[in-house]
């Protein structure tokens, strides 16, 4: 009897999943696997078909100084973007969920990064960063500070990209926090207020724990995005100077669509996927059980 009920749940679950899975397999998993298989082959080039290389491509990757450099860049990039953009997203969401004067304007301001195409926005930031007459240098110039080549020197290039990324991400994540804040029963906040908790305490002890499902979602996306957001790099720095601001995916794009080395690109992709799996999926299964959903 019990088994029967279970079975019905199974079938409903599978049926619900079926349409999405068909598309996922057709347009993600199967192509991904075919292209990943090529990481064991040389890149086919016109007259020379691919030949099996075994792990040679991986060997090459381990010997590739650029790979290690972009990996290092990516870690720094992750540290610079993830915590900051999530923290800002929460703060923004709290602000615009509150009775803030001019709330509509603030909400819209925080949302702009999501609406504007990253490519176009990168051009604007390019202007902001331009030495001499760029916005930042004009502002700094008012204080008599010298012009800075933000994007053109290895020390500042990556950090400048981080700033743009945080700008983009925080507004994006804010939307999900805003939606999640709506689902927290008001009486819980009221109860905490009665207990004498100030905003800070209410946030840390009530709101934040109740936002955990969203935080889990957002932080996994943040981890993934910090490996995925590279569009603006093409315009801002093109990975330069000397790969100082190149990230792993940027390097993969370069390998795949500039160098047209699909074999090696696949190898790098495998490395990226393995890393993301460990980080993101590991993170999910580790935290999902601890998150309080209801």
């Amino acid at each position: 009897m019990k088994a029967l009920k279970l079975k019905r749940d199974w079938i409903i679950g599978w049926l619900l999943l079926l349409p999405a899975m068909v598309f996922l397999f057709a347009f993600t998993h199967i192509p991904a696997i075919t292209s990943l298989v090529s990481s064991f082959y040389s890149t086919p080039r016109g007259r020379r078909p691919a030949k099996f290389l075994g792990l040679d491509n991986y060997q090459r990757m381990f010997d590739d100084p650029v790979f290690w450099k972009v990996l290092g860049n990516n870690l720094w990039f992750a540290l610079g973007t993830i915590p900051l953009s999530i923290a800002l997203a929460i703060v923004m969401a709290l602000w615009v969920n509150d009775k803030l004067p001019g709330r509509g304007f603030a909400r819209m301001a925080f949302f702009t990064p999501t609406v504007l195409p990253l490519i176009a926005v990168a051009n604007i930031w390019l202007f902001f960063y331009t030495p001499g007459f760029g916005l930042f240098d004009q502002l700094l110039g008012l204080f008599g500070l010298p012009a800075t080549n933000w994007l053109g020197s290895p020390e500042t290039a990556l950090n400048s990209v981080i700033v743009v990324t945080v700008w983009k991400e925080a507004g994006f994540f804010m939307i999900f926090y805003l939606a999640a804040l709506q689902a927290i029963p008001k009486t819980l906040i009221e109860a905490a207020q009665i207990e004498g908790a100030n905003r800070w305490t209410i946030f840390w002890r009530i709101t934040f724990p109740l936002l955990m499902p969203t935080t889990l979602f957002v932080s996994i996306n943040a981890v993934i995005n910090c490996f995925r957001l590279v569009d603006h790099i093409f315009i801002l720095t093109d990975g330069g100077p000397d790969n100082a601001s190149a990230l792993l995916l940027f390097y993969i794009f370069e390998t795949a669509f500039r160098f047209w080395e699909s074999g090696y690109a696949a190898t790098l992709t495998v490395a990226l996927l393995v890393m993301l799996c460990l980080l993101a999926i590991g993170q999910f299964f580790f935290f999902d059980r601890k998150v309080h959903y209801k």
């Binding site: 749940d9 079938i11 679950g13 599978w14 619900l16 999943l17 349409p19 999405a20 598309f23 996922l24 057709a26 347009f27 993600t28 998993h29 199967i30 991904a32 292209s35 602000w95 004067p101 001019g102 909400r107 819209m108 301001a109 925080f110 949302f111 702009t112 990064p113 609406v115 504007l116 195409p117 990253l118 490519i119 926005v121 051009n123 202007f127 902001f128 760029g134 004009q138 700008w167 925080a170 939307i175 999900f176 805003l178 939606a179 709506q182 689902a183 889990l216 979602f217 996306n221 993934i224 995916l249 993969i252 699909s262 690109a265 992709t269 996927l273 993101a280 999926i281 959903y293 209801k294």
Partner: protein, 273 residues
Amino acid sequence: MTSQRISYDRTLNTVAAWTLALLWILPLAYAVWTAIHPAAYEAHFTLSAPLTLENFQKAWAAAPFARYFLNTILLVTLILACQFFLCTLAAYAFARFEFPGRSIFFTLVLLQLLVMPDILIVENYKTMRLLDLVDTIPAIALPYVASGFGIFLLRQTFLTVPRELDEAARIEGSSALGVLWRVYIPLAKPTYLAYGLVSVSHHWNNFLWPLIVTNSEETRPVTVGLSVFSAIDSGVEWSVINAATLMTSGPLLIAFLLFQRQFVQSFMRAGIK
């Protein structure tokens, strides 16, 4: 009476929020500035600068934007409709049903988040050719309709819906799909709004795949028109690019302004004791 409420803490928060908001809107403000002034004022912010619509005229003339807008709207509508449908069903399965393979399937969904769709363009192009869909709007849409992001997001939201409501609906005779339709979806409205805005923004702005899989004016989205301005051989013309950007993103900004109020209405105030 209410004036007493304007405390120190409140003022501080308001000031901070406004400062951040101003910082955040700076790029948009700059885009507006350059778009409505002649190019000479791209880096000079004098209030007396003359106004002009010339940049918009130039931008509008550079590509068949009217057609592109229509295509984009068709595209994002198609994607959004399919995403809502597929992701809702899948998220519901993950949130409220126990079945073998749930973790594995969910891992597969998360994997989709990790795999960059651009990496797969060659394979997906082959698939589209196989389906004889090259140079059609569905070809742009199909790889994105099953969104790991959407499934994940909706799952998280569905998990926060009080079980009692699910139970009450079931007692009233709702089938599994009935409960989904009558309880989960209405209660997840803020999330759907958020996801809709994000998805629309994303696909509105997506470029590489549409460029590659389409060839004709009848199928291409606005971003392809926008890319005409990303000149390499000549320098960046901020005023025209920004006019074009504003033109293409304008509908999104307006949509957001229309929907933003919805976010801040409470949907789940009471009902659960």
